[in-house]
């Protein structure tokens, strides 16, 4: 923790960043906090949030940047947060030149819980690299089900939805001004549970964009296994287009350009 605090203090003192978005204990809760050079003494209380307390810092950063577009900010990132930043750079939502990473490596318990294939940031200021989880058992289980069983299971989940939009509102990658989920021509209004396609529409938007932070699922009051759906979406995007979501090396999202040529073939009737 000292190493992390030292780095943050230096960044703030040298004026390299206008603020550091991290966590602080407040009233017994680990909460997101913006550390500024004006209140340097707070840095001594900067913490890495424990496993079970995670917030969409990427989303808070977007909000900050919209208010202070010229400022540079430092931000605490886990592996997923950094993937999110990479994806946000690609979609033109953030400027990579104005973000400084303070990286965290997740614990093995967290990585196992998330079934995370990349549980550490590219710079590590706290924690040790652990074993990544390369295959999701939850996805494999659904894959193994017969069509009608999978349908029954998903429909039961979807019908629990209370349409709180919590999944969308917490999602660091949901930055659209207008949302298809609220478009009256695309989704029935005034109806609970919502259309069965509600979660599928979101899954489509999340494909090649979801960075698998899992906040949607933790946020869901109806315990819909959203993460499984989005994990599969990303796996499909990787299989079909070779696109690794959140990787700085894999170029632009397949949904962002038409491509110079197409070698895909239609499925037979």
């Amino acid at each position: 923790m000292d190493r992390l605090r030292e780095k943050v203090r230096n960044l703030l003192q040298e004026g390299k960043v206008a603020g550091y978005l991290g966590y602080m204990m407040q009233d017994g809760h680990p909460l997101p906090h913006l550390f500024t050079p004006e209140r340097l003494e707070e840095v001594a209380q900067a913490i890495v949030a424990p496993d079970e307390a995670r917030y969409p810092l990427d989303k808070l950063l977007q909000e900050l940047v919209s208010r202070y577009p010229d400022a540079t900010f430092a931000i605490q990132v886990r592996g997923c947060d950094e993937r999110g930043l990479n994806e946000l750079y690609k979609w033109g939502q953030l400027d990579p030149g104005k973000v400084v990473l303070v990286g965290v490596a997740c614990t093995q318990a967290q990585a196992d819980y998330c079934e995370c294939p990349g549980p550490w940031a590219s710079v590590i200021d706290y924690g040790e690299k652990c074993e990544p989880v390369l295959r999701s058992r939850r996805v494999d289980r659904i894959d193994a089900l017969a069509g009608d069983e999978a349908f029954k299971e998903w429909l039961a989940s979807f019908n629990r939805c209370i349409k709180c939009y919590g999944c969308r509102d917490v999602c660091p990658m949901c930055f659209c001004k207008e949302c298809a989920l609220e478009h009256p021509d695309l989704m029935s209004t005034g109806k609970i549970p919502p259309d069965s396609i509600f979660q599928l529409v979101r899954a489509i938007h999340m494909a090649g964009r979801c960075i698998d932070c899992g906040l949607c699922e933790e946020n869901c009051p109806a315990d819909i296994p959203l993460r499984v759906l989005y994990k599969k979406g990303n796996a499909l995007v990787k299989g079909l287009f070779g696109y690794e979501t959140g990787s700085p090396e894999s170029g632009l999202s397949p949904w962002k350009n038409l491509g110079e040529e197409s070698t895909m073939t239609t499925k037979p009737l």
Binding site: A150, D185, I204
Partner: protein
């Protein structure tokens, strides 16, 4: 009603330049194909968003047929590159959630392929008939 043969509702999204013209050709050539298909003309198959397909299923379509120009023949040069990306992805996602991916079909039909158009519509209608009503429709929740 019970002994009546199941007549599926099929929504067709056809591109203005190829498949719609192909449908026209099938028509003027007096080729027979089942009337289960409801055609929606779009300027390019690349404009068909997965939203539209999902919305069609939600509203009670038993099948969705997308028709576009052959790759390389797109009036807008590469619009249909996006069509196939989207639809292949959507088919796989539907399969994962058990929504029967076979109900969504993409076919390249040019303006000169009237007979192919009629054949595809016949085959697709036959296939959907065999599959029966959409699972989404059988649930009381899917209004």
């Amino acid at each position: 009603m019970a002994d009546k043969e199941f007549e599926p509702k099929i929504i067709g999204f056809f591109c203005n330049w190829c498949t719609y013209a192909g449908a026209d050709l099938a028509g003027v050539s007096r080729l027979q194909y089942p009337p289960n298909i409801r055609v929606i003309r779009v300027m390019c198959s690349g404009t068909v968003s997965p939203h539209h397909v999902l919305r069609a299923f939600q509203k009670g379509a038993d099948g969705v047929l997308i028709g576009g120009c052959h790759l390389g023949d797109c009036h807008y040069l590469r619009g249909n590159f996006m069509t196939i990306k989207r639809m292949r992805f959507l088919q796989d996602l539907l399969k994962f959630t058990g929504f029967e991916d076979g109900r969504l079909h993409l076919e390249w039909i040019s303006a000169a392929e009237g007979p192919k158009f009629a054949q595809v519509v016949r085959d697709f209608t036959e296939k959907i008939k065999k599959m029966g009503p959409s699972r989404l429709k059988q649930t009381p929740k899917a209004a």
